[in-house]
Symmetry: C4
Subunit: 269 residues, 4 copies
Amino acid sequence: MKNSDLQARFNAIRSNKIFELFVVGIIIFSALVIGAKTYHLPPYLEGTINVLDIGITVFFLVEIMVRFFGEESKKNFFKSGWNIFDTLIVIVSLIPVNDTEMALVGRLIRIFRVLRMISIIPELRLLLNSLLKALPQLGYVMLLMFIIFYIYAAVGSTFFLDINPELWGNISISMLTLFRVMTFEDWTDVMYETMTVYPLSWAYYLSFIFFTTFAFLNMIIGIVVNVLEEERQNVRKEEEALENAGQPTIEDLHQQLAEIKTLIQQNQK
Amino acid sequence: MKNSDLQARFNAIRSNKIFELFVVGIIIFSALVIGAKTYHLPPYLEGTINVLDIGITVFFLVEIMVRFFGEESKKNFFKSGWNIFDTLIVIVSLIPVNDTEMALVGRLIRIFRVLRMISIIPELRLLLNSLLKALPQLGYVMLLMFIIFYIYAAVGSTFFLDINPELWGNISISMLTLFRVMTFEDWTDVMYETMTVYPLSWAYYLSFIFFTTFAFLNMIIGIVVNVLEEERQNVRKEEEALENAGQPTIEDLHQQLAEIKTLIQQNQK
Amino acid sequence: MKNSDLQARFNAIRSNKIFELFVVGIIIFSALVIGAKTYHLPPYLEGTINVLDIGITVFFLVEIMVRFFGEESKKNFFKSGWNIFDTLIVIVSLIPVNDTEMALVGRLIRIFRVLRMISIIPELRLLLNSLLKALPQLGYVMLLMFIIFYIYAAVGSTFFLDINPELWGNISISMLTLFRVMTFEDWTDVMYETMTVYPLSWAYYLSFIFFTTFAFLNMIIGIVVNVLEEERQNVRKEEEALENAGQPTIEDLHQQLAEIKTLIQQNQK
Amino acid sequence: MKNSDLQARFNAIRSNKIFELFVVGIIIFSALVIGAKTYHLPPYLEGTINVLDIGITVFFLVEIMVRFFGEESKKNFFKSGWNIFDTLIVIVSLIPVNDTEMALVGRLIRIFRVLRMISIIPELRLLLNSLLKALPQLGYVMLLMFIIFYIYAAVGSTFFLDINPELWGNISISMLTLFRVMTFEDWTDVMYETMTVYPLSWAYYLSFIFFTTFAFLNMIIGIVVNVLEEERQNVRKEEEALENAGQPTIEDLHQQLAEIKTLIQQNQK
């Protein structure tokens, strides 16, 4: 059997709808196994689950190899971030782990296999891509928010350090405390505590809440404007498609009129 | 009296505006009776309420029969989900309940009679239908959110199990805890507890909050885009209606110009 | 001096910009007096404030009389809801109150004088009107939300009554508890308590949160669509104004072409 | 060396890309130094940091002088709010502080040096400007919100003063408490406390939450409408630019038709 024959066969398997559904099924099954492990189970069931785990690992290994050998150009395979992600997950779960420290890491890797759901369902992949695409645009808003956090945290850990070192011990702890204030989680407890020493410190919290809420609103509006912009471009593309489809435009009318004019002028002579 | 005569009479009753208002009145009254039952009442009032309850059940039975016999085609009657819902509610409340276990179920059924308000007021029916219509479109965002929850819950119950089994006992309890974190309800208590063992676990919570907020934002934007899309289609329909109403379009001008051109060319000859 | 002379003079005062600013100043001053009363004050200051209070009441009485006598048609005066509101506030604050029970009501009335700020600043009046205009449109969403609350409260007070009568005592207390759950305020405490008896009661809370969030989202979208609709109508009005301003439209072109056609056809003959 | 030569050289330094990046680097470094100070450091490191601090102050002084002398018209330099801000920060950090009271102020000033990040990165400056531009438009909504707060606080401190003076002691404390209620932070604790005396006081809280939520929604919609308005103006500008770029418009067609008509009418004669 020739090499290209094998490749064609693998490619056929890869594109097979039933094979795809089967892979999705195995991923869901592996997710359930991961979930089952978090329950207290009788020993014989735990044994079964460990066997199932090995089975899933082997299946994923086979599947990734089918997809790799089915690919015509081996280079293209590693151009897709999702393929690299899948391969890494599979390879790492092959490493045998006995050490307790490593056992946790091993379990973590197995959990990340659930993420393969996103890599295999195109709609989810699309959704995640659009989320990631929106991120850099919001970069400057995030930088601004970080600066606000940093300044308030520096002020906080300067003034409130002696009041409650657990909340204002250093700039990183202060930033965590401020994040808590931003989520309104028991923020009044934090405020009342500092108000006993600095009675005007409510201004610190209220201005912080005001600034972050405002920056957050700005972020949402940024996303909305972005979405609207895309919508507008879709409308424009549609209009252009209409034009190319032979529908007359104002420019066509313009040309027709110019032709008529020359015709009449020729008549006049 | 012929069968079709009876049917026509029932149909007349069914479509009668006063009858409809009367039914709405009885539904509101039945809701008030349900509410009244939750208060401590003197025995004689409780007796009265039980009698009223039977009266309401009988009225609903009569009403559903009027609507059923008033329907020309009996098949159509059961094609509407709301009719099936109404019939089920009425039939189940007919079953006599004495057993304490079943008594609760019986009361539950009586409560669901309030939902008949939605089935009888067209505006509410419309509202609910539009809510249900929006659900499947958000399906993939929800699936993505579920995957995020599942992975974080698996990680959480792997690492934090020994810290607080009540919050991280197994994957389902962990998902409930994460939902609590998403609603910002005492989430810092959960975090501070795990930070005593894993000082870096704040990254777990912050990344989770970040991802779910982002996915939630995406959901809202999904709905907004959807609404805008509908708006846009309404505008387009309006424009088409204008066209069909005889208003000239660019294409009409195009044709007129072509006619003029031929006229002039005929002149030239 | 004639009656119409007096009226014209009052009308002049009423429309005077300085008089208006003076009234706004007195309202702000009355608000400050109300605020000052909530502090512990030395007796002599309290006396001063009581004198000021009488002064403000008299000024408001004079002001409302100027506005009333300045109005040409006395009927129109009471057609404006704001005028009726102002008159009521002034009349009620004239009633002398000594009784402790009534004293509180008297203070309450004085507080509502701050609302006169809205009745006197046109921009605030506009803002409030647009808020009130949006309310009826949201009526059905609110009815739906009330039904959701009512059903869940009935279910809650049926099942959870014995667990915590303070939270689930009757249908009205249950609705208050559910509002608390909707605002995510210590909702997990409420849930954990009922989960000890009904381990599946998390489904009750999660479905409730889901439904109310969804209905709330719907409300927001309702407002947004409303705003967009208004925007769209503004654009249309602008386009129509452009048309009426003599700018050529497609219909104008159509007529011109028809005229040219007849001219050419006349030539042919 | 002539004065204008020096100025040109300074201007060249100022516009130099590498110099700008270096300044950004120093600002980030100064931010890190500020952050480091909040940690417990061994004495020798604290000495180093103090030396670094002086170095940064000197660098900022040199940088501001380069920018000042590089400016052609000294008047323009102080026309930019950011330049004034930068100069103030630098001058104040020059004042030597030994007194403990002043030491805190000195540290505060050093923290505000992080804000120079905004003054030096154009994208952040743009973002902040657009935030500030949106503020006045929201002015009336904020005034309305303040009136709501003021009235509710006055009512609250009138009725609830004796129940809990720490929450309702005077009108300013009451406003802080109401802000807490608005953020849903333990608001039920506040409510349950007053409900023991006034059982109907839930209406006070619920109406307050309703009004503020509604006003807040209005604020968001105000921002969204604003953004849409800007979008619409951008579209219009684009269309106008298209027109000016020589693309034919309906008006051009109109003129052409008029010319053709006169040509034909000339033929007829």
